[in-house]
């Protein structure tokens, strides 16, 4: 079913922060919260700033929902759904992500 693509090792990730991966032709922002052992993958494109920078945003939660704040204009995007918390009509794509044998894998699958 899902087509998992190998990205990098877990050590390459930044704790409580993001990195960007090139997955096929897509830029994917990968966020890592080691305390909860949680990984999230979102499209790296900031729909407000119209540039590929979301991986460089600050992480945290709003009322328990994990989020990333855009580094440009500070809108918050849910890491679970990709929906913008300030404007629910805007969302970025969310992708499946997992750790297999200490390697990080992403699936763009439908």
């Amino acid at each position: 079913m899902s087509h998992w693509i190998d990205i990098c090792s877990v050590e390459d990730l930044q704790p409580d922060s993001g990195v960007c991966a090139l997955v096929e032709d897509k830029q994917v922002a990968i966020f890592y919260m080691p305390k909860e052992n949680a990984l999230y993958a979102l499209n790296n494109y900031d729909p407000f700033g119209k540039v590929h920078v979301l991986s460089r945003g600050l992480l945290g939660d709003i009322k328990g929902e994990p989020m990333v704040a855009s580094p440009l204009y500070k809108q918050h995007f849910s890491l679970l759904t990709g929906i913008c918390i300030e404007d629910a009509s805007v969302a970025v794509d969310v992708y499946a992500i997992r750790i297999e044998n200490k390697r990080v894998e992403v699936s763009l699958g439908k």
Binding site: Q14, L22, K35, R56
Partner: protein, 845 residues
């Protein structure tokens, strides 16, 4: 169509000008063409703070006229021309320069002149009065060849004048005719305490001295002979023996004047001629003249209301005063001398702390009739409210002046005040107006000041204003949530204290012990900043990395297209030709857009994240270090060229700027901090628009604090004068550390100070007088930051594991192909949307 009427104002002093401001802000402004005469060569300035002219303020600083005021409001001002006669039959005014102007309404605001006692010899050279900036300039010239100065008159103005002489480095004497200083406002005990304090400042006080003659001196220029046979030699004599209304134009024009002078006015401030009003110190109402500005402003408001056909009356004024004389607090309320029938008196005298307080109460102990405070005037706000609003006194009125007993709360809660109670007397702001402003959403001291103008005059009411604000907020059930965000139920200052006291070194430790959840961009950055300003760790340490916003985390400034700009430090704006060439070559090699910034350095734009370490390696090799343009931290210390090259420079501003920038570079703070140093009062470095501004004077460095440019510009406040370098640095250390400990997140120094209870005076008491006993600690903390400085770029380049992050993709060496530039004026700029579509289409084709 109705033709406009002509309104003429004679006199552009503080009261005349305030009248104009009130008039142009009112709806009837459109009914008048306004003309004003000003005898002096400069328009209205702040005479109340005249002595500050000698402690560093310029004529410009003292001006009360906002830029373009006259033009903007179509007011014709005749500067340096005095109105000399009024033809009230034909409604015409004639000036000294021969102008004749017809008026419909005429306002006399001619003010007062300094009274000089008719002592033989009073017209000798170097005998002055203390009234105008020209008087001060003449004094300053005379002081250059003088050693001793004497002030005749020990009232309010006389003591101010004595401070001016002291500031000119003269041995200063105050000569008072009566047995005590400030005899109008103080009783004997208060005056004695004041005299002791003034003497402790090095000013000698001579009372019961009736000057009879001034003749040639033997040692000094003059010899003053007193009635008791004693004498005093001095070089300069200043007369400050009271003021008299300037009513000569009324006298010669047949307008009624009082038996002891002054233009007679009624409750609407009208003179004996119905088209002519008089306001301020030239007017006499009910046999009284008023030598303070507040009643004059009040008269002006009455006239504007009367012109508008509204019912308004001037019904006298409270002459209570509170001021700081040579650093000594003095206040007087109502009947300070207990002249009222049956008045009872309470006195508290503390010789050790040099505090004197006196209450005058009614025979039934129910009402406050008057008060005197010397050495500690903190009770002034409460006492004047008891007095003005005739509020019933507590059972033991002396509790109001005795030091607080442990379980008793003294002072008057703002709740006890009626809505009509005047909180700010300078701008006549009532408690009711403040409450409405709070209701309308003005929930900080700064916002309230801006909206109501309360506490922006003498500032004496700021503590009271704050307590009204707090009380109103509490009452309306409005919970003032000062929590920094949902993850911490603390303010930034609380978090700072938690980190300091518990020696917490990371965000994770703090949130585990004192917070909840995962944090957010608000608390992460705030805590990152606190940790950096307290511990000064390398900010890209693994445990701190996730606290930095994108600028800090890549040590560069992200621009709108996702690329970064790079700013190497150029201390004081100084750069060698080789340095400049190196920057040029690097910019050329990486095809960067270059621009000179307002902070006197070069900004290089358009660097991709993967290029940053390469660019910095070359900059470091060329001798540059990080400019910290990405941080909430010290940015630049701007400077003019200073005495090294400039024909007018007084001191080496570039040298000091370089030294200061090297001392404070890298300092993390609640918001960015900017400095500037000017080498003389021409102020080419614009130091007064900076958080920390320094201006060279003949006597050392003058320090200004809490200014900024930006959206809401604010001039810095003069903090201390004629400092040597060591003291200057000490004060800056203390101000900045106190700021980083107590400010809110993203609060510039200006807002920080405006919201501080007690404002500038409080900050001075903490930093200069060490009121909180913190100074040594503040300096130690700053020294730690200075000693642990590192160039973050040098540290980063040397650590391969840190460089791993500086690439666009974690799994590919490709770069972001969406970053596109076009050329404009010979340099790159980000492509706009249309250009991008076109370029991408060409690439695909």
């Amino acid at each position: 169509m109705s033709k406009k009427q002509t309104l003429v104002v004679i006199g552009n002093g503080m009261v005349g000008h305030n009248f104009l401001e009130t008039l142009v802000a009112s709806p009837i402004n459109d009914n008048y063409d306004i003309i004003t005469f000003c005898e002096e060569k400069r328009p209205a300035y702040d005479r109340v703070h005249l002595s500050e002219y000698f402690s560093g303020k310029t004529a410009q600083d003292l001006s009360m006229v906002t830029e373009g005021f006259f033009d903007k409001n179509n007011i014709k001002i005749h500067l340096g021309d005095k109105a000399v006669a009024i033809d009230k039959e034909n409604n015409q005014v004639t000036s000294a320069k021969g102008l004749t102007i017809s008026y419909d309404k005429l306002i006399l605001a001619t003010g007062s002149y300094a009274f000089v006692p008719p002592v033989e010899g009073h017209q000798r050279e170097n005998c002055f009065v203390y009234r105008t900036i020209e008087d001060l300039e003449n004094m300053a010239t005379a002081a250059k060849n003088a050693k001793v100065g004497a002030v005749v008159g020990g009232g309010l103005l006389g003591l101010e004048a004595a401070k001016a002489l002291k500031d000119l480095n003269l041995k200063t004497h105050v000569i008072q005719f009566s047995p005590r200083l400030m005899s109008a406002q103080l009783d004997a005990g208060g005056a004695q305490m004041l005299a002791d304090k003034i003497e402790a400042l090095g000013i000698s006080v001579l009372v019961n001295k009736n000057t009879q003659k001034i003749i040639d001196g033997t040692e000094r220029k003059h010899k003053m002979l007193f009635a008791d046979g004693s004498e005093l030699e001095t070089d300069i004599i200043l007369f400050s023996a009271g003021i008299r209304p300037r009513d000569e134009i009324a006298r010669i024009s047949g307008i009624e004047v009082g038996s002891r002078g002054g233009i007679v006015i009624d409750n609407q401030c009208k003179t004996s001629d119905p088209d002519i009003y008089a306001i301020g110190e030239c007017a006499v109402w009910n046999g009284q003249t008023f030598g303070l500005v507040a009643p004059g402003y009040n008269m002006g408001r009455t006239v504007v209301a009367d012109l508008a056909g509204q019912a308004a009356s001037f019904t006298g004024a409270d002459m209570s005063t509170k001021l700081k004389l040579n650093g000594v607090d003095v206040a007087s309320i109502g009947d300070a001398h207990a002249n009222s029938q049956g008045a009872l008196v309470y006195t508290y005298q503390n010789g050790a702390e040099e505090i004197y307080k006196r209450l005058v109460v009614s025979a039934d102990k129910k009402k406050l009739l008057g008060a005197v405070l010397v050495g500690d005037a903190t009770g002034y706000g409460t006492l004047s409210q008891y007095y003005l609003n005739a509020i019933d006194l507590p059972e033991n009125p002396d509790s109001l002046i005795l030091p607080a007993r442990s379980d008793e709360s003294v002072g008057l809660g703002p709740d006890a005040l009626p809505a009509s109670a005047q909180i700010c007397s300078c701008f006549d702001v009532t408690k009711g107006q403040i409450c409405s402003a709070v209701e309308a959403g003005k929930h900080t001291l700064g916002a309230l000041k801006e909206c109501t103008k309360a506490a922006t005059g003498c500032g004496g009411c700021s503590a009271l204003l704050k307590s009204v604000l707090d009380c109103e907020l509490a009452k309306s059930g409005f919970e003032v949530n000062t929590d920094i965000c949902e993850h911490f139920a603390y303010t930034r200052q609380d978090l700072y204290n938690l980190i300091m006291v518990n020696e917490i070194k990371s965000f994770n430790e703090l949130i585990e012990k004192h917070g909840n959840g995962r944090g957010c961009e608000v608390c992460r950055q705030a805590v990152g900043s606190i940790l950096a300003s307290y511990w000064n760790d390398y900010i890209l340490k693994t445990e701190h990395l996730s606290l930095q916003d994108t600028n800090d985390t890549f040590l560069a400034n992200m621009q709108k297209d996702g690329t970064y700009s790079v700013v190497p430090r150029m201390t004081g704006g100084e750069v060698t030709p080789d340095g400049l060439i190196a920057i040029g070559q690097i910019a050329k090699k990486y095809k960067l857009y270059t621009k000179v910034t307002g902070g006197q350095r070069v900004d290089l734009f358009g660097a991709r994240v993967d290029q940053l370490p390469l660019i910095w390696q070359e900059l470091i090799d060329a001798g540059f270090e990080s400019g910290h343009a990405y941080g909430k931290s010290l940015r630049t210390v701007k400077s003019c060229v200073g005495s090294t090259w400039c024909r007018f420079g007084i001191d080496d501003s570039v040298g000091l700027a370089v030294e200061l920038e090297n001392r404070y570079k890298g300092l993390r703070s609640p918001h960015k901090i900017k400095f500037a140093v000017s080498g003389c009062t021409r102020e080419c470095a614009e130091a007064q628009s900076k958080d920390i501004g320094i201006i060279a004077t003949e006597g050392g460095w003058n320090l200004y604090v809490c200014g900024n440019g930006g959206m809401k510009p604010r001039h810095g406040d003069l903090f201390a004068t004629n400092l040597d370098k060591a003291t200057l640095i000490k004060y800056i250390d203390r101000v900045l550390t106190f700021y980083s400990r107590t400010a809110d997140r993203l609060q510039r120094t200006s807002v920080w100070m405006e919201n501080m209870e007690g404002g500038l005076d409080y900050l001075k008491s903490v930093v200069i007088d060490d009121k909180l006993g913190l100074c040594a600690d503040l300096e130690t903390q700053m020294q730690h930051v200075v000693d642990t400085y590192q160039c973050e770029w040098k540290t980063t380049i040397a650590d391969a594991s840190k460089l791993k992050r500086f690439r666009h993709f974690i799994n590919s060496d490709k770069t972001d192909e969406n970053i596109l530039f076009v050329e404009e004026r010979g340099q790159i700029r980000p492509a706009n949307e249309e250009e991008r579509l076109h370029m991408l289409a060409v690439e695909e084709a």
